[in-house]
Amino acid sequence: MVQLEVLLGTLGAGFIIGYLAQRTRMCFIGGVRDYYLIRDAYLAKGAIGFLIGALIVIAVSSLFTSVPGWPWIVSKGLLPIPGAPLSSVASTPLWVHMLLAVIGGLGLGLFSVLAGGCPLRQHVMASDGNISATAYLIGFYLGAIALTAFILPIIVQLLS
């Protein structure tokens, strides 16, 4: 059954990634930050490794099975891959996608640095017994509900 595959697949992949991230302190925001501040490339290697690993598996599997839309820029041009709440609305113009990418990216980078790590790292730190990271996670999960329930409807209304 497909649903069971998704449940077990994400649980298992998450478990392995969580284990590895705890052992290596892997953090993508830390990679950019450390390289910028002290020219330390240790954590940046994790992000580069991730890009290489994903690229190889996607490219190889596209030879055997269908990888829908890959490579995206060839099949869909500048349109973003869906997943953002507004990217599923077909009528969203390109400049809105770009504005969301820029605003979202700036805020994500800024507040992740101030918090001291990317969301993955915060999950790992919380699992290490870090109370501050646990508080971060509570805010993180509440933020998801706040965005989908309250903020998003306002943005959609402003756009229409």
Partner: protein, 167 residues
């Protein structure tokens, strides 16, 4: 065996792609791993089933939610306990961290990716994700400069207090 961060990154990237191709974590594409979106799917799914609301989740999570974040917490906890690194500690003000978490989630969902999925989307060939990545780097630079500035300010204040104390 010591795991290097490069190996951890490659394995995580491979798993992100395998999640889609083998375990059918799809649609949307390039959704194998995302901390923000998968956390959103999980909480919204739980809230929807608890109070009968209709908060949006990704198509793949409509029937049953993705459990990536649960797996990450279990995996990291196992690693911490196995290596005797689990310890209750408080690093920064929890209230401050809670606010950062709230803001990070909101901006991540506007972008449609966390730090991990943005790299996965770049691997998938998404041009808009590259614009998002540049914006993230600018945000990190701004945050790092702010941290440097506030550390310098703090140092200066301490100097003043020391002098006051001496006088």
């Amino acid at each position: 065996m010591r795991i290097t961060v490069t190996v951890a990154g490659i394995v995580a990237g491979a798993l992100a792609a395998i999640s889609q191709v083998v375990f059918h974590v799809y649609p949307p594409p390039a959704y194998g791993i995302c901390i923000a979106c998968h956390a959103r799917d999980l909480v919204n799914w739980l809230v929807n089933h608890a109070i009968g609301s209709n908060l949006g989740v990704a198509a793949v999570s409509i029937g049953a939610p993705v459990l990536t974040v649960v797996g990450i917490i279990l995996g990291a906890f196992t690693a911490a306990v196995r290596n005797h690194e689990f310890k209750i500690k408080t690093m920064k003000s929890p209230a401050e961290c809670g606010i950062y978490g709230f803001l990070v989630m909101i901006f991540a969902l506007l972008l449609g990716a966390c730090l991990i999925r943005i790299v996965l989307r770049i691997a998938y060939g998404d041009a808009m994700a590259m614009i998002g990545w540049v914006a993230i780097m600018l945000g990190v630079v701004a945050g790092a400069e702010f941290l440097k500035w506030s550390a310098r300010k703090k140092l200066k204040n301490e100097e003043v207090t020391c002098r006051d104390g001496a006088a």
